[in-house]
């Protein structure tokens, strides 16, 4: 039940003439998660009109990639959604691997799953922190989230040499094997993570202020979600059971036993989006445990030359990124560079329903709705 905006013409006919307050929230605003702007019109505190403005961070990502070799644009995919460089790498590698038809070694597949699920943990845990920060908590949940994120980023750094811009995946495998003892450290982290999640849930999930702030706010109906092309946790919070890890079973996801949390679609509000992410973390931990138990020894990368010329073809590689369906569409024309390179950014597409969710709510609601969509401006603007 999307709250309809009040009929302002009607109000004015009745003589309750009020002047609207126009505010440009952003591009520099504490709760816009980057250089994003919302031009809002307020009636008192109620949002009457909202216009999202973005593009401040446009870096010409797609055109750049069309002018360099396939490998060279791998580090640029890190910078799309800079929280989840590992999954960005994977989606791009998946698309390019379809072009050149290369076999990925077993160990590399396992490590890819491990990296992707760790990335999902990083993304969800910080997102929840930021979301509660938008709700007005003084950074306490965010600090707890960042503590866990630091531990995972340490692991990323040990494996790939960088904490955020990992640039770790290669066509046909991974750049290098993980160092000695890395898997044990990861097992230890994964074993300890549920205890942290328990504490986090105890802190947040039953807090009455959070409940009353988020429930019934920013409702997104199943129809609108599907029509707008929403993907990821946001779609599942609106009651659609759709997860590419199950649908496509890319990589080796069909080997793991895990569940996909979703709602019955009655509400689809901020609380659902927040809770779906909390529950997904538990499932990620389950996948990680299985992957870490089964990982074999062996090669890390298939036979691929650094610079290659794929046959003219089209390929679309997509994965279930932490934010939704992340896809790379490549057209090869027989040279070392892609003819067309296109990103399907989940952040941007999920952002399109912002206005529909915010109208009629309070200005404080607009902030948390934006927070619950989970955007990263690097990916929105590209």
């Amino acid at each position: 039940m999307t709250t309809a905006a009040p009929n302002y013409e009607l109000l004015q006919q009745e003589g309750l003439e009020t002047s609207l307050l126009e505010i440009s929230m952003g591009p520099h605003h504490p709760s816009t998660h980057g250089v994003f702007r919302m031009d809002v019109k307020l009636d008192g505190e109620t949002v009457v009109e909202l216009r999202p403005v973005f593009g401040y961070l446009h870096r010409n990502h797609e055109k750049l990639a069309e002018n360099m070799t396939y490998l060279s644009s791998m580090p640029f995919t890190d910078r799309l959604d800079y929280f989840n460089s590992m999954t960005n790498n994977w989606a791009y590698a998946l698309a390019a691997e379809k072009l050149i038809e290369v076999e990925v070694p077993e160990r590399a597949e396992y490590l890819r799953v491990i990296m992707a699920e760790l990335t999902r943990l990083v993304n969800h845990v910080t997102l929840v922190g930021f979301f509660v920060n938008d709700l007005g908590a003084l950074g306490t949940p965010l600090m707890y989230a960042f503590r866990e994120r630091e531990k995972i980023l340490d692991l990323f750094e040990q494996a790939s040499g960088a904490r955020m811009m990992c640039n770790y995946f290669r066509f046909g495998g991974l750049r290098n094997d993980v160092p000695e003892g890395w898997l044990d450290r990861t097992r230890e982290l994964v074993d300890r993570f549920p205890a942290f999640l328990d504490e986090y849930e105890q802190l947040l999930c039953e807090n009455e202020i959070i409940l009353s702030r988020t429930q019934g706010v920013g409702n997104l109906s199943r129809e609108l979600a599907v029509n707008a092309g929403i993907t990821g946790p946001m779609l599942r919070a609106s009651g659609v059971n759709y997860d590419l890890r199950k649908v496509d079973a890319y990589g080796i996801y069909d080997r793991f036993k895990f569940r996909v949390p979703y709602t019955d679609g009655d509400t689809g509000d901020c609380y659902d989006r927040f809770m779906i992410r909390m529950l997904e973390m538990r499932e990620s931990v389950a996948i990680l445990k299985q992957a870490l138990a089964d990982i074999p020894e062996g090669d890390i990368i298939g036979k691929v030359s650094k610079v290659f010329k794929p046959k003219p073809a089209e390929a679309y590689g997509r994965i279930e990124g932490p934010k939704g369906e992340l896809g790379f569409y490549l057209i090869a024309d027989g040279t070392t560079k892609p003819y067309r390179y296109r990103v399907r950014p989940p952040s941007l597409i999920n952002l399109t329903v912002l206005r529909d969710m915010c109208l009629g709510g309070k200005i404080a609601d607009a902030c948390i709705i934006l927070g619950s969509i989970d955007i990263v401006l690097g990916e929105v603007d590209r």
Binding site: P75, Q158, G161, A162, E199, E206, I209, K306
Partner: protein, 233 residues
Amino acid sequence: MSILGGGIFKGMAVTLRNFVGSYFSKERFITTNEYSWRPESELPQSIGDYPKEEGEQLSDTTTVNHYSRNFPMLLHDTGEPMDTIRCVACQICERECPPQCIYIEKSTEKKENADGKPQFYPAKFDIDVSVCMSCQICVEVCPFDAIVMNSQFELSTPDRFGGLLVRRDDLLKSNDYYHKIHPQEAATRDERMAADKAAKEAKKKAAAEKAKAAAEAKAAAAEAANESKEDTE
């Protein structure tokens, strides 16, 4: 709005536990000690311990982990840097560098390298710190193992025009230094290079032998032909 559910008190119990716990367990803190692969005793304990010697850099002591990468460096083997430089100025890295931060000028004449072979060398090899994004693509595409990543991170400078452009002579580091900062990676790289070299030599040898055999066969054939010729004569 309800305050009677007790969820707020649960949350307050969590924060209280963290408040008390932060005095007792170091694990709760955000910074982790796993950051460095070096033993804790070797690390500087506080900022006051640094620098111990003139010119010492923090990154020399804390260096971070096996795969840490911050900025490229050019490798040379044991000996005078310019005499044993591995780079042959083939300019592949310049072409492949995603942000285009490398500038190379090839030398006009050849010079002997560490193996004693005459090779070109870079007359100029500049990398712009402000543009480089530490992605390591140059390392991967280099066919000569001449460029690797340094973990040095103190690159700030008050000079914003000249200082941010690192020149060839500052980029040159010895292979021993590489072994010091990235022991594992350097060892595997050296092993692979040795193997490549051995394979190459074996190939060369095989090729030489083959050539020799072919020549011998040719000679034999010629001889045989001669003989047959002689026979026919």
